[in-house]
């Protein structure tokens, strides 16, 4: 379970969300990258975050059966698949996979508009973009989500926009929104998916079934000189 930014408070929140979703017997370890952006909002942050998360994954002394990448729309997923021998599940794709099981079309509500393009590309890369009707920003930054009432209100407004485009299911497009799914679902009357929870369950499923990343497309990184930051 890795946060994609350096804000410890958010790591804690993600950890709590993951624990709430996990099966009995699953142990959750939430890690914070040693470097990177304090919040990932846009392309520059996302690329910086990807390198920092990969650096974390290659150097951590923790052991684990699977990794959940808790940055919605952030880069790095395929690099982690090359690096690790255990399954890697990203909260973006995880939410989308479950959404497809619940309705014919889904939409994503997220933080700032500047992240919408990132998320679209991430869904495309994961092979689950076909039933996505759109990604809509709520106008709230990643570190502005703490006020649950304000956040829920902004997300409901955004969710109505994707519903008007045909979404039958809504995906919460930021790890920092974890835990708000039921509140917003109750208000909208349609299913709302928290990517953190979804990814934990999908990672457990892969582990239970003994499935690992294919090495055809994601072979181990070649041994070579790599410098991780200045």
């Amino acid at each position: 379970m890795t946060n994609c930014n350096t804000t410890e408070a958010m790591t804690k929140e993600i950890e709590a969300g993951a624990r709430a979703a996990a099966s009995p017997g699953t142990e959750i370890v939430a890690l914070t990258p040693a470097w990177g952006p304090e919040s990932a909002e846009g392309w520059l942050d996302s690329f910086l975050s990807a390198a920092a998360v990969l650096d974390l994954l290659r150097t951590t002394e923790e052991t684990f059966d699977a990794v959940v990448l808790a940055g919605f729309g952030e880069h790095g997923r395929e690099g982690a698949r090359e690096l690790l021998d255990v399954p890697v599940v990203d909260i973006t794709e995880a939410a989308a996979h479950l959404a497809c099981l619940l309705g014919r079309r889904y939409g994503v509500v997220t933080t700032l508009d500047r992240t919408c393009g990132l998320i679209e590309d991430s869904l495309h890369g994961a092979g689950v973009a076909a039933h996505c009707v759109g990604v809509v920003g709520s106008g709230l930054g990643v570190l502005e989500l703490a006020d649950e009432v304000r956040t829920a209100s902004a997300l409901v407004t955004a969710a109505r926009r994707v519903r008007d485009r045909g979404a039958e299911v809504v995906v919460l497009g930021c790890a920092g929104m974890t835990g708000l799914d039921r509140r917003i679902s109750a208000e909208l009357g349609i299913p709302v998916i928290d990517g953190v929870a979804a990814a934990v369950r999908l990672a457990e499923s892969l582990v239970a079934l003994g499935l690992r990343t294919s090495r055809v497309g994601y072979p181990k990184p070649l041994p070579k000189s790599r410098r991780w930051g200045r």
Copy 2:
């Protein structure tokens, strides 16, 4: 857990596959339709099977938290979503969702060539066709899969064909192939996914997260006169 055909022996096999995949505490009940084809191979069988499975679901006295439809590529999925208040997961889509988490492209190996079109359409309808490189038949009918050695050999041959088209992960395209995944994976060196196992885990995940089918696209069937068979 419903078989899509009337062959009890196959229901037993599916039940065993499902039990092997289920979490501790999950109870598996496998049902056989009271009517329909003895095996579903092609469009006519698939439509007949769909009606029979829906009839089973509307009349069964069993209670359950989720339904797994164990007919690979067979019709009926969306009807069950209208009919039931619990989540419905079809083994076709389930296998494809997990496959997308393990590699950039996947392929399906199935029974007779005549079922390939059905499976392609089912994957499209589920929103997971984008990364499928193809569906290839093994030449074996649904009721000819009992000889594990012969079946595994035919599936490996078919799997090599999808791998040559770029598949990094292989999906077993018939409920009757449940349990062969590890053997074939060992031979090919790439992940192989059993839809029955995948669907059980995904259904458990939806239940655990309190997620249900959206009623926007799948409202309850309207009350009206319906005659189920002559």
Copy 3:
């Protein structure tokens, strides 16, 4: 010519629509399934209807040169192609084919919103979805179409919505709307297509040219045990 539901009055109406469209010398026989839903509105009904229509086709003593399936968006088309040696034309695809000859984009107006997804998938399966800008419900159920003034008014409203999305041609998305095409076209000023009429003409064309369904993708159903209802 098969109705997709068990309502005889609708079979009569479809028969009249077909006769009005047929060439001199073409004989129209309209059949009603012995079982199934009284009207097909949604996925459950559609799968039930598919089995009932296939049962009708395999048991009828009528002989015919081609079959028109008069359920807009309903399932069963490909099963009929396996079963029969004569051409099979579905009113959904037929209307779309003619629509493509009359404008760059077309839209469909139908009964209840719950049928829109079915129709979209049916057009996709038939290979004619590319130029469809959308399917829009009129809010009227299949058995509520008898009041022509009310129906026409609701359809015009729905048609304006697809026109606003770019439709240059409108398709009437229910067999029960047969005969309303000219009235609505006069009101909107753009071509309106009745699927029943379109399918009759296309079926005649295939027969006249000696064309039959390819057996590559639709081989004859295998001999096996099949039970058609309880």
Copy 4:
């Protein structure tokens, strides 16, 4: 019925093919452009042909209920739709529409490889490209098709190539191949469609149903100065 080139012999052949396919009571008038290429093979010829055919259509004193454009893949179709008040059917799209009714995928066999791109674009523009698996040249030029034995042999070879790519139906991709459909179908065992015949039947259907081109996308050409050749 307009030939797309200036070769009278080919006009005669197209006329014969059209008459063989037409309903009783349909009168076929085959016209030859007064200018243009002696055969249309490639983009330059196609654009030249389009202007010449449009010039013919705007100046002819013949009257007719519909126009069939008998150049497979050639340009001009949409211009004719602007110009004329009667339905316009192009043999490219017509063959593809009927092919979609007979199988899940179709392929086109044509003359020289240089025309394949033209045909692909024409099918796309007509909204029927989704189920086309490919267009394959036979190596024979338009004016080399007279030797039926040689032509049939070359077409069968090309047809096997599209069948290997998944085609269940074959379309003959040149007006000059009219009449060879049954011979090649007998050899291959799958349906083969002659675009001239298909277009005649579709044009008759549109006329019988009182359908005309939508003026939304194809309004009448604006009055202005146009010079048609030097």
Copy 5:
């Protein structure tokens, strides 16, 4: 540099726009077809224009290192590629290529609505349609663009419509709009691209890099009898 219509004043304007965009040392020669429409607005005009432009290119005594086709959305591009040994760049594709370098999505504003379909097909044929969110007409005919204030105002209105659909960059969809890009960009605050300028720069680039049209898809026209107009 060829105008696509016979209006000399417009050729002059295009020439000025091209000169303003060209590198030092590039010589611009602007040609007017000897025949064709006085303005190209719609399909009929476009096909007529294509033949006239190709006639001009095959007969001109000018020599040049590359050709720019200055008709936005007009036909003929691929014919010129067959005919000539030098690179051919069309202003439609050129503007779209540069637009893709400046934002994730672009839109086109053009003259009359009747040209929108043409432009869409041209972008598709050029392989750059994926990021186009739409083509919107301004209601002004090609020969009505002279009043810069009125034209700019109509274009800004149209540009706002494509921006609302997600366009981050705007393309001016008519050669006669050359020179208005900066004014409209200033008003909208997003980049605006003039196809004439874009095409000149791309043509220069191809020449500088020694790149020529591939003869695989665009072989030289075959020697044969062709009549160019009556």
Copy 6:
């Protein structure tokens, strides 16, 4: 002009390639990231490279009118667009844009197979994937390209594979292949494009036309705490 890896020799080579392609008057400055991988081969390297290149761009004291990112398929492009006020052109997209101007379909030949997926996604993100028939590896690593004879031979073999899939133009898929385009083109008889050269010319074009990245999708990075490496 930034190399995507830390190998100075490769920066020199790219610089030479860029100078050979640049217009008179264009000054080329080639930079090497201070950290990152010695060569970018696969996803992990690519994400590391992206962060290192962005760090270079935000800290360099050089000034420039445009930036060329010389990593074929590597990440970072959109982050640079957020960061900088000048145009950013990536060699991947640049080569593809020019390829589309020279033929109907193009293919890419690259280094190791593990980079193919990266390149496909990059082309998709740039909006130019539609005409790409495939990306094929040559089996040579990035730092094994120095032996020109061996490299050219391996590339010709790979190029024949994309040509067999329909490529009419070949793109060299690694900055380290700069300068080999003419040799390989001479051998294959079809155009071959060097991304470094293409990007230099496209960047010059954008500068000359006064065009800059749209800030709609790529707004300036928000001020916040970011740590660039440990």
